[in-house]
């Protein structure tokens, strides 16, 4: 177990800079998720922590020890690759024990360690097989076994679930979470899947274009996104964005747009009034109400029942928003709909900088 500190780490290939001064601190036993779209630099950052890629500047400390000048094998880390990277010519047992074998651990001790890891991952019956004779989920477990058996200070996961089908992905996600809670080893986990980030991470770094957009716990990322990119990247369906203005009225500050009028919570006084803003509302924060309680008025466009809930696309002025309503919602297309918003749950963004406005 160890802390991880990433200090002003940069990376460029020739004149192209792919990481611009990244700073991250991860507590001992924490679970850091690097989340972002393809090409945001998250895998590059992971490879630099592993030592498979050089840094162009900055420092990386594992357990307080700078590792940038160390070879991958001397960093005391274990990595689970996206393609699993199992050794195709070796049995599962030797795959898991290879790291110990290379470190000169004697055969008995190695066997015990491999058996323990195999039992933990429920793959004891597969130890004699070759990777080619395993299913995707089994390969994934072997890859994790190979990492566990080394008892490293830090686990690195590079999109480990992206090659699995949807059902297996959910199972393995739970497995990884259980493993983390059981072993207590710090983990860095790269993914482009926001559900994995939300469910697994104790800390999530949302990345885009080589910059960290926000580094916070999943709840803060979800409820208080730092900018429009983070707000739209996390959550499905995505957050609704409504351009409008902040205006003062006798009853306090209100957000006003065509068909929308939301009272801002008391105490939000630090911004200029009468300025353009973008209101961000999560679909589940919208509730169908009676006309006189409504803060959003619109016309139903599409109704999509999914079982546990109903997704309703609503036309509000020129904007289209999505509301996540209860399963037996009875509205129909072209009917008017009245929605209420909890003022405490909304976010305001600056239309120019796209940054969140803390009122």
């Amino acid at each position: 177990m160890a802390t991880l500190s990433i200090k002003d780490v940069r990376k460029s290939y020739g004149s192209v800079q792919v990481l611009h001064g990244v700073d991250i601190e991860l507590e001992d036993g924490g679970f850091l998720v690097l989340l972002g779209p393809s090409g945001c630099g998250k895998s590059t950052l992971l490879n630099m922590i592993a030592g498979l890629d050089d840094t162009s500047g900055g420092d990386i400390l594992i357990g307080g020890r700078s590792v940038v000048d160390l070879a991958p094998k001397d960093r005391n880390i274990a990595m689970v690759f996206q393609s699993y990277a199992l050794y195709p010519t070796m049995s599962v047992e030797r795959n898991i024990g290879f790291g110990l074998e290379m470190r000169g651990v004697d055969a008995d001790q190695r066997k015990r360690a491999v058996d323990d890891a195999a039992r933990l991952l429920q793959i004891s019956h597969l130890l004699d097989r070759r990777p080619a004779n395993l299913s995707g989920g089994q390969r994934q477990r072997v890859a994790m076994g190979r990492a566990i058996v080394r008892d490293p200070e830090l686990f690195l996961f590079d999109e480990p679930l992206s090659n699995l089908d949807a059902k297996l992905r959910v199972e393995m996600r739970t497995e990884i979470k259980r493993l983390h809670e059981r072993l207590g080893t710090s983990i860095v986990y790269v993914t482009h899947d926001q559900i994995e980030a939300m469910t697994l991470g104790t800390k999530v770094a949302v990345m885009k274009g080589g910059h960290i957009q926000q580094l916070a716990d999943p709840r803060t990322i979800y409820e208080r996104p730092a900018n429009i990119f983070v707000a739209s990247f996390i959550g499905s369906p995505a957050m609704n964005f409504l351009p409008g203005r902040l205006a003062s009225s006798p009853s306090g500050v209100r957000f006003a747009a065509n068909g929308v009028s939301v009272a801002m919570p008391a105490g939000k006084r630090q911004v200029d009034f009468d300025r353009p803003v973008i209101l961000g509302v999560r679909p589940e924060e919208l509730k169908a109400v009676a006309r006189d309680e409504a803060s959003v008025t619109g016309v139903i466009d599409v109704v999509e029942p999914t079982g546990p809930e109903t997704m309703v696309t609503v036309q509000v002025g020129e904007q289209s928003i999505i509301a996540r309503l209860p399963p037996r919602f009875a509205g129909r297309r072209k009917e008017p709909i009245f929605l209420a918003v909890d003022p405490a749950s909304v976010n305001l963004f600056d239309p120019d900088s796209e940054q969140r406005i803390d009122i």
Binding site: A50, F81, F98
Partner: protein
């Protein structure tokens, strides 16, 4: 139609109620037209000569007549011919000299040149370029190297005041000389085969090995070599088949001499069939060579396969 092709056969049955469908699995004799040209040449140029050769080997034949049936007579004469037995031994000796050398040097070059640098690309081309030369050019080059007193080898030895080994005229060195020229000539193909096998190994397996504390030697032994085992077998079989057919180099460099010590089976066949016009015995020698190559290639394959099953 495209949809129907991808449908399972049970589904097609229900479709056929509405539209008569074609059973695409039924044999269509007109498809034979597409393979006919290949079959024609395969039969006339390969199968027919093969069978004719066998037939000839049981007859006393010269170029003007295919005479009486002599049963195994040609084979009996063959195995009493000291020159033939010498040529069989020579061929085995040559295969033993060249095949392991080609495989090992080919592998070594591939391991060294399996990188994305300009130097590696240039060297790959350079090592492969000898393969495109004809045997005449190759032997010419190596005769120039080996010529006593004035050849390249003599010159280099001369700088150190030593005498160069006589690779063409010394009975114990002549076959080694031919083997050196052959390895130089044939090294391109094994190297390319090994290179393509090496490039099939995914990079992240090496990254995993680096994290697993494996050093370069351990990585080579535990990951690289097991991964290219099939290619190794392929290279060995191809080279055994090729090198058993040694002819051009021996004919052009030493004419089979000195004292028949570099005369391979193919040269013996040529001498017997087309210089002494004993076609029957030449055919018999060809059949022996055919069987030898077959056994050597099969044995190699079986031995390596059994070993692979045990591990």
């Amino acid at each position: 139609m495209a949809d129907r092709l991808t449908m399972p056969r049970t589904a097609m049955a229900t479709v056929s109620v509405r539209a008569p469908s074609v059973d695409i699995y039924a044999p269509q004799w007109r498809n034979f037209v597409f393979v006919a040209p290949f079959l024609f040449f395969f039969t006339t140029l390969l199968i027919f000569p093969l069978l004719w050769g066998m037939w000839l080997s049981f007859h006393k034949a010269d170029t003007f007549s295919s005479g009486d049936f002599v049963g195994l007579g040609n084979y009996v004469r063959l195995f009493h011919d000291k020159v033939f037995l010498q040529s069989v031994w020579n061929t085995f000796y040559f295969v033993l000299l060249t095949v392991p050398t080609l495989a090992l040097i080919g592998l070594f070059l591939a391991l060294c040149l399996n990188r994305r640098t300009r130097t590696a690309a240039v060297l790959r081309t350079l090592f492969f370029s000898s393969s495109v030369l004809s045997v005449t050019i190759v032997t010419l080059i190596w005769r120039i190297v080996f010529i006593p007193n004035v050849g390249l080898l003599s010159t280099i030895y001369g700088w150190f005041g030593a005498t160069a080994p006589a690779f063409i005229s010394d009975p114990s060195l002549a076959m080694i000389g031919i083997a050196i020229a052959t390895v130089w000539w044939c090294i391109g193909l094994p190297m390319m085969l090994f290179l393509s096998a090496l490039q099939q190994i995914p990079q992240d397996v090496y990254e995993a090995a680096a994290l697993d504390n494996a050093n370069r030697w351990q990585t080579l032994r535990s990951i690289t070599l097991p991964s290219i085992k099939r290619t190794f077998i392929l290279v060995i079989i191809i080279q055994i088949v090729l090198q058993f057919q040694l002819f051009g180099q021996a004919w052009l460099m030493t004419r089979g001499g000195p004292n028949n010590l570099t005369k391979p089976i193919v040269l013996y066949i040529y001498d017997t069939a087309f210089r002494r016009w004993d076609l029957g015995m030449g055919a018999a020698a060809s059949e022996v060579l055919f069987i030898l190559i077959l056994i050597a290639a099969m044995a190699q394959y079986l031995v390596t396969r059994n070993k692979a099953d045990q591990t």
